[in-house]
Subunit: 153 residues, 4 copies
Amino acid sequence: VAVVGPGDSTDPALLAAAERIGAGIGGDGHLLVTGGLGGVMAAAARGAREAGGSVVGLLPGEHADAANDSVDIALPTGLGQGRNLLVVRAAEVVVGVGGSWGTLAEIALARRLDRPVVWLWGWQLTGPPDDRALVRAVDPDGALATVREWLRG
Amino acid sequence: VAVVGPGDSTDPALLAAAERIGAGIGGDGHLLVTGGLGGVMAAAARGAREAGGSVVGLLPGEHADAANDSVDIALPTGLGQGRNLLVVRAAEVVVGVGGSWGTLAEIALARRLDRPVVWLWGWQLTGPPDDRALVRAVDPDGALATVREWLRG
Amino acid sequence: VAVVGPGDSTDPALLAAAERIGAGIGGDGHLLVTGGLGGVMAAAARGAREAGGSVVGLLPGEHADAANDSVDIALPTGLGQGRNLLVVRAAEVVVGVGGSWGTLAEIALARRLDRPVVWLWGWQLTGPPDDRALVRAVDPDGALATVREWLRG
Amino acid sequence: VAVVGPGDSTDPALLAAAERIGAGIGGDGHLLVTGGLGGVMAAAARGAREAGGSVVGLLPGEHADAANDSVDIALPTGLGQGRNLLVVRAAEVVVGVGGSWGTLAEIALARRLDRPVVWLWGWQLTGPPDDRALVRAVDPDGALATVREWLRG
């Protein structure tokens, strides 16, 4: 399961939500895949780690030590924003937390690659055809419920 | 200048718009960069080629012969959807024509990488902060006018 | 630590050597990074797994299920041979086992990126300047001894 | 046709050879693909440009202005050494001029991807099976003769 969201966010509600979602994923025994840096990525990783889960961080730069403290396996890719594609491909389900251009890029790419997406507090889109594989969540528990349903799927 | 849009579109109005935009770019002497395949990509390339311009096609697959007939320089990348990042990076200005998940992924990535974007007949987004570098166009000539303004910029 | 080598090899001595090197790496508690497919990659992964270590497989294709049975974390990259760069970047030390064009490409890239390399039963090169970070091993235990020395480094 | 070689070389004989090879390729009307930076890449590009040919530069960084002065089409990839794969994939024939780890990595990758290679003043390899698609040249004209033969092929 991948969690994507703004790496520079300092919004306490957003970070708390990401941490709770990470804890649910890690507590269920699923591997958490993230971009390995700060903000939402670090909060989700912290939650997963504390819940006993494992965290992979796919870093944009060339050095593993840029990873946040909760990443178990830090893979520096040197691909810049190209690492986003790897995050999405590595996941069976993608969870978006909050909105930013980078987050939107990952979510759109996930849908392009047929990964189902849950988006908590994301941007609204008018235009896409009805898409049952892009679900809006209104709170972290709702997001987790959808993730669990899909993974049972 | 990059033109991005659905590669499987057969909508005559969309393809005519892409061709007209391509013709404007090529006629102005700018290099057109596209993903090299069909639909909007092929229509824009045809327009640029007929107007005397040059067209680069950055292909997702491993073989140059997948390029449409109007590509002058076909570069097979073997990167799959990862080639979208190259299309956006190669451009000073990105023009979106129509909506699809792939198109949205490229436009969001372009904004993430600070490329200005004109989007003709695209999806609507509610959420992003005011962004003067993402302009909506209502017809091909309007899109071209914005592109020209930015390139003069 | 990354182990690289021919993915199509069926040479029993080569595969046994790869398995023994994998076992040493895994038994020491280091993460093994490989290309995730067959031949030398699968043998090294099996050794590491049986010794209690963890194995990351960075796959060239788009589907995780192409990974060999001993990979704990299978990351499909969709980058084709571009995944080789990720294998090398992810490692502090690269071990080559046997010779092939792909193996040579990874070893040369590792040296280009300043990763130290031990090469067991590899091809001979005449031309490079003296390079203390490319060591030839004559047996698996010698390769492991060099890896251990560098990681203590 | 791609020309690869050390980007930091200041060896007059090597640079003169690269320029002559570039001139042959450009004069024949073939597109020259290079990594777009200095040394052998710049010399080959200069030769091709002066002979009336076109030059594509696939740059490792994110900015087109890092390209040498003779590049017609500068494509910043942001992929670091990952751009080497694109150089090789874009070419039907690869010409190596001189030796370095980066050059060897590109040549090995070219052979892995079944591109034929001519290598002028390169390193010697002992180990690969007989390979009629890796030819050693002893002077620039010999390298060009082989390139022309293959392209007629």
